[in-house]
Symmetry: D2
Subunit: 341 residues, 4 copies
């Protein structure tokens, strides 16, 4: 049985565990003010070439999203998101629970565009409606697609022009930045958004997201807000150590690249066998469409997620690869598909 | 330099790290529905002899407090707490941020009593005031004191009589239950409260609190609420594994007992040297009062926390021991005090 | 210049003002516990034939909506609404500000149906998504359309089956119940919904909505919740007096009927002149489509609201009649249209 | 039976009702953008000599408090109040329901002082605690006492120095400014606070408070926030008309003066008969202490409010006078006390 269920099934990359072990008896300062967190922040600042960035390590992704959105909006302001955006669909109303409407716009491939943002702005005309103040995008998106540099620049520009904050959810940013068709780098992102995060949980850490605030107007008192949302870990160094391990060299991107390569192979195998995709495959999440008769057999050998019936006889499913996916697992798919042609 | 700053300075007990390592490549189900979480829940249910309990592993303590309080109160209801209660003083208004007033009552030794609860009830007379619906206590308290069995029973009774939910914050419950003067056991607690938690972070885990819901009316839909507050860890098994290690045998209480024993020795040393305490010492947090002249020297060799100047020349400080405190550290205090008599 | 801008442009019906005057020096009890409020409640209970109803007079409509929704949902629960629903579009995120997502469903004519509700239910599958717990409908709707008795019964049934609360926004319920095609009466409504309100502001009162709670599980502590949302008027009798005047005889429905009759005439005039409607006209809000060239002249003689350009040369506008609309105003439209044929 | 229960028992001053009547059929613009609201704003701006002020008419007092506090604080910030402050005691947690802690400080006579504010500031030391950002005072206070000009200046100064916003609840500001010992005028207040309001409900209006924003940083988007909290009345002109009547000449202060004069006489009567007060009497709320035996008889002839038993045989009660209190009622107290000496 091989699992392609998601990219958060295994523990952590061994080098993270090693650093946790070797530092285990150090008496660290609590609440993220320790030396490991400091080092990890330095590595990341150097990587994005922004010494002025404020970096905070947050335990989870939903927590990071609600923290960012609720901290930077006034009560009457809303965030614009793709209708497939994680904050709109899969966070049990965490954003609304902090008081803010998510204005969800229908999108293709899970991606916002300047035109769609414009449409949302035009719709919100007066004080009887919420006021758009933030744009939320995910890269890669919830459908595994990515933003090109030109696309991100154009979103940045409409945001600047309309005084909208731009927030990029990077829960899977490693996968986005190491995929073959990508032309963005992490420095571009740091210069085009107001705030973004680098996801650890889905790329080899036990848990943790590195939240990076670039817009200086947003930095003030942020630790108060982290604490209030229950996101200031007493043993903050546990997060710091993991990002130290991921960014003291190129480990973070190596892990993401591996996940993408495994997905690439999967994609080729599936295409070669003649199947198509529900959404264009780019990163470590791919959405093949298989006949229901095939899936009946497949589910006995592989774990994956159901997405949607596309017609009477065919169903879209999701295969996710990760830093821990073995070539052996991918090859088992090839063998299976060949056997069941 | 020896640190008595707190009980969350070091990583995790080696047996926890070992289990994390040995299970690292298992493909676990996400969001706490894995086999390790299941096992840990079984161990805890057996320990408290309540097969009917609902158990959830939550990343942090403030998060657990705000989750519990906001899930079980209607909007107009409040929680009664000691004025020294963690939710009142040290959570940056996390409870109020979910919409609920903390009614903070002046208390001796950080402990609520039936009389104090009664006073709070009497004060809240009609619909122009919030409605008390929950009592929050910590055991051990924020001042290191503990509730006796009789005291907890009497609080349980006034709660039942007045339809108040009783919530016990057990961030340091290990220390409370293994201290020399304690006469409560964990089964008593499970039978006397509606909901409580067993803290991992301050007793040897990397992070995590085991939330235990006993009152069946409170169980419904609780995973929705965990998710909404950003507390449903994708790699929930990381929490499950830690509680598995802590409760598959007596490790949890051994660690707490060790911390208490170290505090006991410290207490004797301090008493023998003739100093007194700001709050009666019971558990792993003790609050000696030292002359400022002595503290001037002390701070060069030991790390501890400032609490309050008690008079012109003397100051109360906090020393905390933990599962990781070494006899050597405690003996260094003895040597220091003897040298500086 | 004749105004068809809305139905809340003038003060109050003279009989309301008279009762305010004649009772002006009575020393009333505050906060809605006065004799006028009591009488008004009695009149309404008799009208709906539900002596068991709990009735509260609330100053405003948005306030009533946010009060009802936030009082009856737990934090993880959401309300299903037509995408054109007032709570979704025109309340500046008031519902979200109390922590709840509005799940807005695309609808025809502003009306929810069992199929659409079913679709919303099916979409929300697990604890990663909000949980539908309430259905919000307006009668008449924001597009001036109404629910038939069969339609309301079918919505009631799907709600019962799925443990959804049914909440009817009756800001313009008078207009709905007195329109020519209506087959519902107010007793039907009281028996089919869990909670609804009878709007005063848009039907002849200075302000005020009569909120009626039928479901007994929702009644408890409701005055606490009113107070908390700032909706417990100190001079609650000002609201009570108005509803007393409106319901001590048939005044409320007479006023609504008059508004509808004025709209009926307008509708005939417009149809006769050959123009069509953006939404089928039923009640006191009608949405004619006029050529832009005509509107250029029209805006010099009449006040109305812009809705939407429907094509290059034509625009939908909104004309609203009220208890205060004079035949003279309606006839002026006829004269204008005839002159500008 | 004479009522001294409160100052919101009767309807409105006749001149307010007259203006409501005479303007009843005007087709006004909705949501406070009408000509009456404009005029009322002009009158108030002239009175306070601040043409730059932003003025909004809000239906209720609790609503105004929660609107102001929730609009101007970030999520982690709190408001400092006297423990007797209306927001702390009598608003059913309305402030906390918007997410903010009320830091309630023990005070004498219901009044904050710079020292008490300083104490609150010192207590809140770091990001584990809420951050004080606003000071809330009432004038007159909930105990009927008033701030002197020097006292208000000193509070203003500590606020400026510590970047705290100063918010004055003027639900009974008329009574404060027309009482005999007062040395503040309304221009002083406008120049010393960031935001305050002039209460209509308790001084002759049917309902309504005039909220006045002086600090220009607080003005932006305020109508969005009013709407979101359900406080943007559709018939906003009903509020505007009332404040127009109250401020087109000196009516507002005449009404307050009358109430104070009635209280003055009551005070003399009570003092002459030899009784004392629970709080020093200044304005239209006075708190005499009477023997329980006397109260037994008194309650058959007068309506007043119970405050607190002060010892075994005596009880403090509250007598409130208003614009509608007649000399006859006050003289009835004299007759009663003389008869029952």
């Amino acid at each position: 049985m091989y699992s392609f269920r998601n990219d958060y099934s295994e523990g952590a990359h061994p080098r993270i565990l090693e650093l946790l072990m070797s530092s285990n008896y150090e008496p660290n300062i609590g609440y993220g003010e320790d030396i490991h967190s400091d080092r990890a922040k330095e590595y990341i600042k150097r990587l994005i070439e922004r010494e002025d960035a404020d970096i905070h390590f947050i335990p989870g992704g939903t927590q990071t999203n609600m923290l960012v959105i609720s901290s930077f909006l006034r009560p009457h302001q809303c965030v614009i998101s793709a209708d497939t955006g994680h904050i709109n669909v899969h966070e049990t109303g965490a954003i609304e629970a902090t008081g803010h409407k998510v204005v969800a716009m229908p999108c293709k491939d899970g991606k916002l565009t300047p035109d769609i943002i414009k449409k949302a702005l035009n719709h919100h005309s007066d004080e009887h409606m919420v006021q758009p103040k933030m744009v939320y995008i995910s890269n890669c998106t919830e459908l595994g697609t990515i933003y090109s540099k030109d696309e991100l620049i154009s979103i940045h520009e409409i945001c600047k022009k309309n005084e909208l904050l731009l927030f990029l959810d990077g829960a899977r940013i490693g996968s986005a930045l190491t995929c073959k068709t990508n032309d963005l780098n992490i420095k571009d992102i740091a210069n085009l958004v107001d705030v973004f995060y680098i996801g650890g949980t889905k790329n080899g850490a036990l848990l943790g997201e590195a939240l990076i605030i670039l817009n200086k107007d947003l930095k003030k008192d942020f630790r108060f807000l982290i604490k209030q949302r229950g996101a200031l870990a007493a043993k903050g160094f546990v997060l710091g150590i993991q990002f130290e391990a991921l960014f003291q060299d190129d480990l973070y991107f190596e892990l993401a690249k591996h996940a993408n390569e495994m997905a690439e192979i999967l994609k080729s195998i599936i295409e070669e066998t003649g199947y198509t995709f529900y959404a264009e495959p780019y990163t470590n999440q791919i959405f093949p469409i298989f006949p229901d008769t095939l899936l009946k057999k497949m589910e006995k050998e592989f774990v994956y997620e159901f997405i949607e019936k596309v017609d009477e006889n065919n169903t879209a499913v999701r295969f996710v690869t990760s830093w821990a996916t073995k070539v052996e697992a991918v090859e088992a798919v090839r063998a299976f598909l060949n056997k069941n042609k």
